[in-house]
Chain length 321, copies 2
């Protein structure tokens, strides 16, 4: 039995992008090719406990299910490199157990919360004394969106960025209604889908340029805390990301019939003048930005129109709450 050398626990929340990260500038180092603005979802939690032993192995379970270590090899190499460089342990084994209170690998940004919690806990357990930007950069190696999830509140991960930045925007009346349309795992991982887009979509180059423009506009609208200005940009960002997927060869399509019912429903509320702006990630789920005062109307109408969709209201994570 190996000696227990350290242990720690951390919690992180999925980082929901307002403007979408889709595509890598450097796939080995997981450097994003598009900038992304995001907010953490306070009610969705990933709890991770890390134990450090001697040896050089890595084991992780998610909700009790052992995971393929290949998916974590780059992350494990990186934390070993950091530890050696800082003059700490040269070799160690990590055992980690994660639990999430929301569907995993289904389009709820579970990998952002998972790798953020893992990086935070591993830093403590190994006593590496990393700064938050350093932890962000480590988490990025596992999943680029995890670079954002180590911070609370609004974040920006720049195109080409090593780590995310925390944005000084406080907008507590904002709500995110997560509408679950399918609980199962998605048929193709984001990682594989992104790579197919890069290598086969004729629109990929234009997407990268356009994503930078949209993010710059969205950042200004976010500082102004103007949902009528921000909303259409949020919508264009995800729609164009899905357009790139649809233009890949063969085409990628994450939407389910229930996804479309929910999108039509949100359109109908907006046509009545409601300030409800949806986004989606690689997967079938729909997330709707609105103000706190407008949640009851959304939930009541969704219950009438699309009773089979499961909705959960989330607040943002904020640094001082």
């Amino acid at each position: 039995m190996a000696n227990l050398l350290g242990t720690a626990h951390a919690c992180a929340h999925p980082s929901l992008a307002l403007t979408k990260y889709w595509g890598k500038r450097d796939s080995l180092r997981n450097i994003p090719a598009t900038p992304s603005l995001a907010i953490g979802l306070a009610e969705f939690r990933c709890e991770t406990r890390v134990r450090i032993y001697s040896g050089t192995s890595f084991h992780l379970t998610i909700n009790g299910v052992p995971q393929n270590p290949d998916r974590f090899a780059d992350f494990f190499s990186e934390i070993q490199r950091i530890s050696r460089e800082k003059g700490y342990r040269k070799t160690f084994s990590i055992e980690a157990d994660s639990t999430a209170n929301f569907p995993v690998a289904a389009g709820f940004a579970s990998s952002s919360a998972g790798f953020a919690a893992l990086a935070l806990a591993a830093n403590t357990a190994l006593k590496l004394n990393m700064t938050t930007p350093e932890i962000s950069a480590l988490a990025r190696v596992g999943s680029a969106s995890a670079a954002r999830a180590v911070y609370k509140g609004f974040t920006l991960l720049p195109a080409g960025g090593e780590h995310a930045l925390s944005l000084p925007v406080h907008w507590p009346e904002l709500r995110i209604i997560a509408v679950e349309t399918h609980a199962g795992k998605k048929p193709i991982s984001s990682r594989t889908a992104m790579e197919r887009c890069r290598t086969s979509s004729p629109f990929y180059g234009e997407w990268l340029q356009d994503a930078a423009n949209i993010t710059a506009q969205a950042e200004a609208a976010l500082y102004a805390r103007s949902l009528p200005e921000l909303g259409p940009l949020i919508r264009e960002s995800y729609a164009r990301m899905f357009a790139v997927m649809l233009s890949a060869s063969p085409p990628i399509r994450y939407w389910t019939p229930l996804t479309l019912k929910v999108l039509d429903f949100v359109d109908s509320l907006r046509q009545e003048g409601g300030q409800y702006w949806e986004t989606m990630d690689a997967g079938p789920q729909v997330k709707v930005f609105c103000k706190a005062k407008d949640c009851p109307r959304f939930l009541a109408r969704l219950g009438e129109s699309v009773p089979e969709a499961k909705a959960r209201v989330c607040t943002g994570t904020y640094p001082n709450s």
Copy 2:
């Protein structure tokens, strides 16, 4: 009561594009910006009766419903110009009644059949003695895809083309299964949607280039009558057209929940090795290319999996049948 100066009747079939016409090079003259390969659907018919009177007015009914003459103003001007240029009547009125045995303005290329039948019947009723390419160019002014529908069999409307070309390909074992997912009119016309794509999609320029590449490859696969080669190109063409729509501002989305059920169903048959390749036009309907021998399996499985979808098997129109 005005004098009846001439009358004629014509029938035309919707022209279903294998590679998609989407975008105009010249919107006043309705010149396409992408090339399109197509086949007529023999079982879908539009019958049009034209009567010529003195005067200078234009009236048209579709299935007994009077239509807004604005939509036909360019066509009417063009046929007046041709008549004057050829030294025939200088002024005349046209009254036309169309009936279609399939849903109109719902994504079944009804305008292609409608304007083709109108151009064919008007040429006869006015005794203009136009050649088929001339009739094709006249029909194009009403709807670019109608330029194809004046011919039988496989056709090509080149990018920048004034009229379509008939292709010498005979492929009688090919079938097109038209799957109806929604009978109502579409929420936004193709004409309006195309213009929104041209003016707001960041992917529009790349779409035009890519459409030319796909059509060139598809033409070669069509001459080889190879469905395994042609099928993926048909699929890419429509998927990229929808990607351009999704990338417009605001995004355009013609799909219904039932559309997605049918697309998932076709995917599942293809994953089992079946040669079924779908296309879609601006609207929610799905059309599937396959061989005659593979129709029974498709219909039986569709009846089990998506019983709410209505399927109709079509053969191509051929010049000598």
